[in-house]
Amino acid sequence: MSAHARSLTRLLLPVALLALTQVLLQPAAAEDLSAIDWVTNHDDPPIGDPVAKKGGTFYTSMTSYPLTLRVVGPNSNDAFAGWKRAYTMSFSLVMRHPTTDNYIPMMATHWLVQSDGRTIYYKLDPDARWSDGQPLTAADYVHTWHMLQSENIVDPSFNQYARDYYEEVVEVEPYVLKVVGKVESWRPLDMFDIWATPKHAVTLEEGFPERYNSAVLPVQGPYVLTEQVVGQYVVFSRLEDWWGRDKHYMQGMYNVDQIHIRVIDDNDRAFDFFKKGELSYYTVNTAKKWAEEMDFDAIRKGWAHRKRLFVDYPQGVYGFAMNLEKPIFQNKDFRKAVQHLFNFDEINTKLMSSAYYQQVSAFTGTEYENRDLVPYGFDPRKARAHLQAAGYKKRGDDGILVNAEGQRASFTLSYGSKGLERHMTVVKQTFQRFGVEMDLRLLEPGTAFRNGLEREYEMTIMSRTSGLYPSPYQYFATELKQTKNNNNVWAYGTAHTDSLIDVYRFDTDKQHRVAAMYELDAIIQDEAFYVPFWQAPFMRFLYVDSLVFPASFFPKRTQGMTDWQVFWIDADRDTRLQEAMAAERSLGEDTVVDVDPYLVKDRIEAALRAAAAR
């Protein structure tokens, strides 16, 4: 730097500082909004089908009566929370279109992400109203932020969330909101989304959990809780004059007049209720039931339909995790031997009615999934070669392999899911046949989960859901290897994988990110500390004939029935159904079971075929 330039700096510095002070001292409301080049999107198709009709009652069930109507605080994360969030309380400012993945307006009509990747301005929809008629403004969002920070909500995980995610949430103008995230992100609209809480109805003083435990608060969504009989059922009713009813993306959504949710503690009993026609919809959650119990009267007579809808949703991490801190798994050959001894096909055909697909990638179902990976596959010969390379060359007296130091090829699998015990005993027998001993240890689910985070295990079953975008940092960062209580349960990480993760996290060029993640995915597979289990990229459900769905049923990114209410009840079909049921008359069986509008099944089966061919 030349002397001239330096003196200029000296001159300008106080001026710059002064300007900065002025900016900082300016009241928030005085921010210059005219310069903001707002972004919006009206070009995507509506989520639902615009021909949907309003009306009717939708009958469904839940396994236990909700302990609270709050969405934060103790007990607020039960199954009922799904209903509350989806239909009454937690609407996004900007959301992703569940089929196109583009951002679309919801509570905010426009938005703008600043170049820092963490400051977002939202222009709120001036039409938005609380169900009690009060306007919904930026102050309600700031209120949520304050609520999440408050100790009085007695919800440490939300407190933590508020600390980790939000730098500040500011009311710039009554209808302009500014959210500043904690860290830079290339998808700040997903990361720093926040919902509104009615400021005029919710105070944050001490006693929050008790005060709002069963309070029916004003809602922003299309449904309001109108009836609750403790222990038996709750009813949501549709607001006829809901402010969002005619918005472009809401066309054809939220159609039924009432949602009647009955408490049926046992899933099989709920199935019986469905067979009798007392529920409108039923989710089939086991392969066995799907394979063996779907041939009942209502299906044969066409009063009910069964569908297996293939959806495209990230599958998360699901499989055996080996702890690299334990000596036995520090040997890569031993890890690879375990991979080759895991007989997915046998488990799938013999125990799961061939219903599932093997996972290969650590990022299955996301656009960062490396589809070129070939599964290890069950191969005792390769397994034996690896075992020998690992030093396990001869069998001990009990038939378990031992190495030169006399150590047995034996480890303990700790797991928290009793439902998987069936599969694990079969895996154990296969391992044993080839000289590897796997002891089974069932733990209370909470303990198993915590032991995983604390790396207090040799092998465990790892099960985590994933968002639309994988988060490799939390699973594979070297930084997390040094500490405990995180999702890097395997204690893996190298300087090279860290650099790949950094590319994914910070590089704004998508091609670079994809390339880095493909490489990371391949490295994870080669390191062999994660034995992926299976994936179920579909929803299996039954519904009564009076219920009508759009042509592609649910949007592409659907995980559960509560996600998107796009179905409706057709009054004429309902009459026809009632008559047919009364007269024991058949409507003709619906024989189309598999629906694959997003070509997910095609893709997965093609990939498996290609891998098998290699």
Binding site: P380, R395, G399, K418, T425, D439, L442, E444
Partner: protein, 354 residues
């Protein structure tokens, strides 16, 4: 050393027990079953009992022999995996050699899945699996048999430990009395309110669960019941004239307890023990059913019931008939024994007017 000579009353009680036929026969049947079950490894096992091969006798029941031993190979060309005795039997029968294999009556162990059926498990009973297979393809009869052995051994050991320590502690409480009795009784009250199931779950997170650990945990709670009875018995007996007489003759404490008091306090011990066995079997079954008992894949009745009650198995009757009848029969036998003992020891029997 103490020597208990059976006093005439006790002898009379035993005779009476022998005369109550349902009790006596139940006892005989249960004893036989128990003894037989000790030899489960020779009754249900995929390892042969004896193999005669090339002039050498092999006894593989407790010994691992690989395929190479009998010139076998599996489908991957491996010969170091465990020998397959069933196919060995078929081979020897076909090749007309002097080699032979003696298989157990049930040639399956309770662990190995049998996936040789076209249909996925559970498979209905047939000539291969007399009681069918469970949802992992394992032989139900083998699991039932091994499950019985585990249940009965567990229950008898647990009850033995519990009754002996309970009797000792309860007797001391009653005999010493005073402050010792008050404090120990308060301790027992506190101890007995500990939620047993939670303690089991908690300890299972720290220690690797197994037969002995589970036994130890349950024994921590098993002794309590017996103390109540023995304490009151002691309190009552020690004030009786025969005890005072012995004391006035200068009998030592040990003699007093073992020679005079204990034999007269034994009625509750004897009558409660069979019902304690029932309780212990039920408790183990319940724990296994919940998944906090013996670790998988230990054959256990509780786990079998769990499978039988699973929704997808509701129409697989053989899965429920086997464990339910086994449990009912066992508990019935034990209860009949207990009932007969109680009757034999009933003081009303000795009333003059009978």
């Amino acid at each position: 050393m103490m020597r208990w000579r059976l006093n005439p009353i006790t002898r009379k009680r035993l005779q009476r027990f022998r005369r109550i036929r349902r009790g006596f026969y139940s006892f005989a049947v249960l004893l036989t079953l128990t003894v037989v079950s000790l030899f489960s490894n020779f009754l249900a096992n995929r390892r042969a009992i004896v193999v005669s091969y090339e002039g050498t006798l092999y006894f593989p029941t407790f010994q691992y022999h690989d395929m190479a031993t009998f010139a076998q190979q599996d489908e991957y060309g491996f010969d170091d995996v465990e020998a397959d005795y069933l196919s060995l039997q078929v081979r020897f029968a076909a090749d007309e050699s002097n080699n032979w294999v003696l298989m157990p009556p049930v040639p399956f162990d309770p662990y190995e899945p049998d996936f040789d059926y076209a249909e996925p498990p559970p498979n209905a009973p047939d000539s291969r699996h007399w009681f069918g297979t469970d949802s992992q393809g394992r032989d139900v009869l083998a699991r039932l048999l091994y499950g019985f052995r585990i249940s009965i051994l567990f229950a008898v050991t647990l009850v033995f430990v519990g009754q002996v320590s309970g009797t000792a502690i309860g007797s001391l409480q009653g005999f010493i009395g005073g402050r010792f009795d008050i404090y120990s009784q308060r301790f027992i009250e506190v101890w007995s309110t500990l939620p047993f199931l939670y303690v089991v779950i908690l300890l299972a997170t720290f220690f690797k669960p197994g037969f002995l650990l589970l036994l130890a945990i349950m024994a921590l709670f098993e002794w309590i019941r017996m103390t109540y009875y023995m304490r009151t018995e002691m309190y009552r007996e020690k004030t009786k004239e025969y005890c005072l007489a012995a004391r006035s003759f200068g009998a030592s404490r040990g003699r007093l307890i073992f020679r005079h008091l204990l034999p007269n306090c034994l009625t509750p011990l004897v009558t409660i023990t069979p019902f304690a066995v029932v309780g212990a079997i039920s408790a183990l079954t319940a724990l296994d059913y919940l998944g906090y008992g013996l670790p998988a894949p230990t054959p256990s009745w509780g786990e079998m019931i769990d499978q039988a009650l699973a929704s997808q198995n509701r129409d697989k009757l053989w899965l429920s008939i086997a464990p339910f009848s086994a449990i009912s029969i066992t508990l019935l036998l034990v209860t009949l024994i207990g009932e007969s003992i109680r009757e034999a020891f009933d003081p009303k029997q000795y009333a003059q007017y009978r």
